[in-house]
């Protein structure tokens, strides 16, 4: 709880600060370009529309968020600062690339384990094929059935037709 309070206080302070710096810098004439904004927005997911990267989302909310990134860039924030600001505000779901720490690291680790396991099993299987083939060379499947069985089968087959 206390974390949340301090977090929101810092974010409020930060945004106030941002506004202040924007005003302070208005004289200098520097504004972040669209490309700089998009480079950061690309790494974020739109917090409201599911599965849409922020740099291509056309909703009003996303336009505002891009404008916010522009303001932050203009007032000298770094890329990391902006991204962690968005994570603090809207949660980890705004990150396009999931983190590699904590529970989320599972999303990265499991596929690697799966590949390793799969390759190991495949190698074992191929080895097994080879061993058996050495052991059972003499054991080719006996295609020949006793003559009377074949005769019976053929008789029954004819009756079936």
């Amino acid at each position: 709880m206390r974390d949340k309070v301090s977090l929101s206080l810092t974010t409020i302070l930060a945004s106030l600060l941002a506004v202040a710096t924007v005003q302070a810098q208005e004289g200098t004439g520097y504004t972040a370009t669209d490309d700089e904004v998009n480079r950061i927005a690309k790494q974020l997911y739109c917090p409201v529309c599911p599965n849409t990267p922020l740099d291509v989302c056309e909703t009003k909310a996303c336009q505002d968020w891009r404008a916010q990134i522009r303001d932050q860039l203009t007032s000298g924030w770094t890329e990391d600062q902006i991204i962690s600001y968005f994570v603090d505000q809207y949660g980890e779901r705004v990150l396009a690339e999931p983190r590699r720490s904590g529970f989320t690291s599972l999303v990265w680790i499991l596929p690697i384990i799966a590949v390793a396991l799969g390759v190991t099993v495949a190698v074992q299987v191929v080895r097994g094929w080879r061993r058996e083939s050495k052991a059972e060379v003499a054991d080719e499947p006996a295609a020949e059935l006793p003559a009377e069985t074949v005769a019976r089968l053929e008789r029954e087959l004819r009756e079936l037709r």
Binding site: N51, E97, P98, P111, V126, R130, E154
Partner: protein
């Protein structure tokens, strides 16, 4: 009135499907041909009934019977008659009915055609396939009925869709419908659902045969593999077409400059394609060498489960997504069905494990068999990575309470190397021998493509030092292409030398005589071409964005885009169009006028970004109008993408279809494959149950 007939037909179709499932299972179990015969008639009856239901829904859509909730939802006066008819698959209720209809149509075809060849299997094939059909028709009747009417309940603010009149409700008939989601009004999206559903339902047929083989205990014979080969290829190629059309749609309509976004719905479709592709390959080993029998069973079971899962994800929006237009109570029903069918089929597989022993063994570690197995492992690993990425947000939410996103960077990083491995195997596998391959011989036959591709990759690396990964990717792709081309060359050369044929004649005879082999190579070439587009997208895509006043230009990669003007007008189908005129220059020369647009559909409140595209084989220049000054229209903001090699995706798709047609085209029987298949057939005949 017509819709009521449709409703009655739908219910009858449900009853007939249920009866067909039960009767054929009973007939198969007790060996009563009469019941099986009756089940077959019920299948045909169900097909007739569902056809009637589909036709009456289409009729209601075209004639705008707005008393029906579904019609009011997806059809509207502004739409053309053709679009209204395609609205059949524009929403959830219609899609599910459509799915069930295609499915029962396939079962009808199978039960008419394959009856004599697989007498033992047929009752169970019908039972399994019709159980699936019954599930979907049941959904259509009970959960998501396309013929439900709109009702206004007393005191309620919202309309209730229901088949029967709720208490204290009066029927409500809106003046006009919502109309098809404007984003779906595109040839890609009109063709995408039908092809996808044909692909999805097509895979149910080999699954049904596999289950029938397990149930009857005839799984030691491989008949089901041969019977279903064409079904599998049909399903596979339609699923491929569906994926390509979907990609094309995204590229033309969604306005983010790409064709594949690793969206859950795209993933849901990709997963059965991946396992299906693995299946298409590994059945060859069973057919030729009698190995990997258990493995193939697992692959087809997985494919079936993923097909149902894919339909589920697309149609319920459980994994929320831009594509998931529909939300409803379908979730639990699907969940139970997938669980039950998966467990039942796996249980069946374990019970019959002893019938699935390999007939042949292997002599060397390096052989075509072992490489096929490795390829299968890679396909499954990719499937797992995609599945895991798709469901992980839900898992994370379930266990930690934090919802996270798994976006394109994850999929690119995890599946990229695995796909690269597949491309490498694609180059090697065709020259490998069955049973055993000596490394020396392998290197000798691979030397020319290997050296040439290394040269190409090296030159590329020298020219593009800033992207070392791209050199690796292009080396692999050129290796795969060259290896296939050398295979063609070898075959042609042999014919030309020994038979004195011209090059063209040699090529066409080569294709005609070895359809499966060379058709397969064509498919491989198509896949490599599609992969080229992905490599271009991953490494060389460029973009820039900026505001332009009239007469100003934006530059990117040697191109220059000049903003000429903006105009506003009303489109014919309820859209407001804001269209920019721009001129695209390269090196000072005018290439073309591009007209990127922002359309706004007033009724649906849906914006749509239509790109202006200058397209060549080398690259596309893709221009979006992303912002404008409301007053005076003097300045506007444009986004330009340069998308290299993207056209190769569509060309590769066409080649892939062509190759599959070559491989699957019915042959006259003279070239029926010899070897293992023939021996098995003989042995089966000797044992008294062949044809």
């Amino acid at each position: 009135m017509i819709a009521d007939i449709g409703l009655i037909a739908l219910v009858l179709g449900f009853l007939l499907s249920g009866y067909a499932t039960a009767a054929s299972a009973y007939g198969g179990r007790r060996g009563r041909p009469l019941y099986v015969e009756s089940a077959r008639n019920a299948v045909l009856g169900a097909f007739g009934m569902l056809t009637l239901a589909v036709l009456s829904l289409v009729y209601s859509l075209v004639t705008l019977d707005f008393s029906r909730a579904y019609v009011a939802d997806v059809s509207s006066r502004a739409m053309s008659a053709f679009l209204r008819a395609t609205a059949l698959w524009g929403g959830q209720e219609g899609s599910i009915l459509f799915w069930a209809w295609i499915m029962v149509g396939f079962v009808a075809v199978v039960s008419l055609r394959k009856w004599d060849r697989d007498r033992e299997l047929m009752p169970w094939v019908i039972a399994v396939a019709m159980a699936t059909t019954t599930f979907f028709v049941g959904l259509s009747v009970f959960v998501s009925n396309p013929f439900a009417k709109l009702w206004l309940e007393q005191g309620a603010h919202e309309l209730t869709p229901a088949v029967f009149r709720p208490e204290n409700a009066v029927p409500y008939i809106p003046e006009d419908g919502q109309g098809l989601n404007p984003l779906l009004r595109h040839f890609g999206m009109i063709g995408h659902p039908p092809t996808t559903y044909v692909g999805f339902t097509g895979f149910v047929i080999p699954f049904a045969f596999a289950m029938a083989a397990l149930i009857t205990g005839r799984s030691s014979q491989d008949n089901w593999i041969q019977t279903t080969r064409r079904w599998t290829l049909l399903a596979w190629v339609f699923l491929s077409i569906g994926l390509i059309l979907g990609g094309r749609w995204a590229y033309d309509v969604l306005g983010w400059g790409g064709f594949w976004g690793w969206d859950p719905v795209e993933n849901a479709m990709l997963m059965p394609w991946l396992t299906g592709t693995a299946f298409v390959h590994s059945v060859m080993i069973q057919e030729k060498r009698g190995m990997l029998k258990v493995w193939n069973m697992i692959l087809i079971i997985l494919t079936y489960a993923l097909v149902i899962f894919g339909t589920f994800i697309t149609r319920t929006g459980l994994v929320s997504s831009v594509h998931a237009f529909a939300k409803s109570a379908l979730g639990p029903a699907f969940f139970v069905f997938i669980g039950v069918t998966f467990l039942a089929s796996m249980g069946l597989l374990f019970r019959r494990l002893d019938t699935l022993r390999a007939d042949h063994e292997l002599q060397g570690l390096l052989s075509r068999e072992s490489v096929f197995l490795l390829q299968n492992v890679l396909f499954l690993a990719i499937t797992f990575a995609v599945f895991w990425g798709t469901v992980f947000p839900m898992i994370s939410e379930l266990f930690t309470g934090t919802r996270i996103s798994v976006g394109p960077p994850y999929y690119r990083k995890v599946t990229g190397p695995l796909f690269a491995g597949l491309v490498l195997l694609m180059g090697i596998a065709p020259v490998l021998a069955w049973r055993r391959q000596s490394v020396r011989l392998l290197l000798r036959s691979l030397a020319p493509p290997l050296l040439l591709s290394l040269l190409a990759g090296g030159l590329w690396a020298f020219g593009h030092r800033q992207h070392p990964g791209s050199a690796l990717a292009l080396w692999l792709l050129s290796f795969a292409i060259l290896a296939v081309l050398f295979e063609f060359g070898k075959g042609m050369q042999a014919r030309m030398r020994s038979l004195g044929e011209s090059a063209m004649a040699a090529l066409s005879r080569l294709l005609a005589r070895n359809r499966r082999r060379y058709g397969g190579y064509l498919v491989h070439l198509g896949v490599v071409m599609i992969a080229l587009a992905f490599v271009g997208d991953a490494f060389f895509k460029q973009e820039t964005q900026g505001p332009l006043g009239q007469g100003e230009s934006l530059n990117l990669a040697g191109y220059s885009l000049r903003y000429e003007g903006l105009r506003q007008y009303d489109g014919s189908d309820g859209r407001e169009v804001l269209e920019a005129t721009t001129s695209l220059y390269k090196d000072g020369r005018l290439l073309r006028q591009l007209m990127p647009r922002q359309d706004y559909f007033v009724v649906q409140q849906q914006p749509m970004t239509v790109p202006g595209v200058y397209s060549t084989l080398g690259e596309d220049v893709y221009v979006l109008l992303v912002g404008w000054e409301e007053i005076g229209l003097q300045s506007a903001t444009f986004k330009i993408y340069v998308n290299p090699l993207i056209n190769w995706a569509w060309l590769g798709g066409a080649l892939l279809v062509l190759g599959t047609v070559v491989a699957a085209w019915p042959s006259s029987g003279a070239t029926a494959n010899a070897g293992y298949a023939l021996r098995t057939a003989k042995r089966a005949a000797a044992m008294g149950q062949g044809d």
